[in-house]
């Protein structure tokens, strides 16, 4: 699975952070036609973003967020800020990526 893409840009007095995560985001309701079995729920349920070590955004998600989820948010920051995004899923999976504000 490819790593999360994270980018942050300072423009018009605000930093816009955009992330594209790689995750199946299964709701647990999808059935495989051939076997009739349900694909178990497997989705990112928690996200924490920090800028220079300080928490700027936290999010709680359900399987209702689309596959390979996209997230964008804004905060009052500056060029050079160190951005970090950590996601956790309902099966204990997790990933942390970092980037610098351009």
């Amino acid at each position: 699975m490819a790593a999360t893409k994270l980018k942050a840009r300072f423009k018009k007095d605000v930093v816009t952070v955009k992330a594209l995560m790689n995750h199946p985001m299964e709701t647990g309701l999808r059935k495989i036609k051939e076997t009739g079995k349900l694909v178990p729920a497997h989705f990112i349920n928690e996200i924490t973003c920090t800028a220079n070590g300080k928490e700027v955004l936290t999010a709680n998600w359900s399987g209702g967020v689309s596959k390979n989820p996209y997230l964008a948010f804004k905060y009052a920051g500056a060029k050079g800020d160190e951005i970090s995004l950590t996601w956790k899923d309902n099966k204990g999976g997790t990933e942390t990526v970092t980037s610098k504000v351009k």
Binding site: V14, T27, L29, R30, K31, N45, E46, C49, A51, K54, E55, V56, L57, T58, A59, N60, W61, S62, G63, G64, V65, S66, K67, P69, Y70, L71, A72, F73, K74, Y75, A76, G77, K88, N90
Partner: protein
């Protein structure tokens, strides 16, 4: 043979459950070690008012035109519907995103940290045509806005 198989699966399940129970009571699953509580009840609620009750302690919201929801009028693919929410309300601390016609309407919550703008964008699944609702907590009060999205192909597999 079928009864035996069921018995083995049942026993296996109960042993596993028992183990977790013991671990929890022994303090091995201390809250700090486990993720900060994911609001399961709110995310499992089948109706918008129940989801809001579980999440915020109330389902009463004041309609506000300061909350802007950007969503397509018609979603060609209900599996990927881009939504952007922006709140012009002073002191917005959190944004909750709900899809009224989904089986479990609460889709996402965003909590603004220090310096964060009241803005969040993501892509969500819409099972069928219905309202997308944004509920913002600002100054201790709850405000909401909604917009209808038509779905031509449902987001949960048709």
């Amino acid at each position: 043979m079928n009864a035996n198989y069921k018995r083995r699966v049942f026993l296996k399940g109960s042993v596993a459950a028992g183990t977790i129970g013991v671990a929890a009571s022994a303090g091995l699953l201390a809250p700090s070690a486990v993720m900060a509580a994911w609001p399961e009840k709110a995310f499992s609620a089948r109706k918008v008012p129940d989801a809001l009750d579980s999440l915020m302690g109330t389902n009463a919201t004041e309609a506000s035109d300061k909350i802007k929801i950007k969503a397509p009028e018609i979603a060609e693919n209900g599996a990927v519907v881009p939504i952007t929410i922006e709140s012009g309300l002073e002191g917005t601390e959190s944004i909750a995103l709900l899809a009224a016609a989904n089986g479990t309407p609460l889709v996402a919550t965003f909590t603004m940290g220090e310096g964060a703008k009241a803005y969040a964008a993501t892509r969500i699944k819409l099972g069928k045509t219905g309202d997308v609702i944004a509920v913002c907590k600002a100054g201790g009060k709850m405000y909401s806005a909604r917009t209808g999205v038509k779905v031509t192909i449902g987001g949960c597999g048709g």
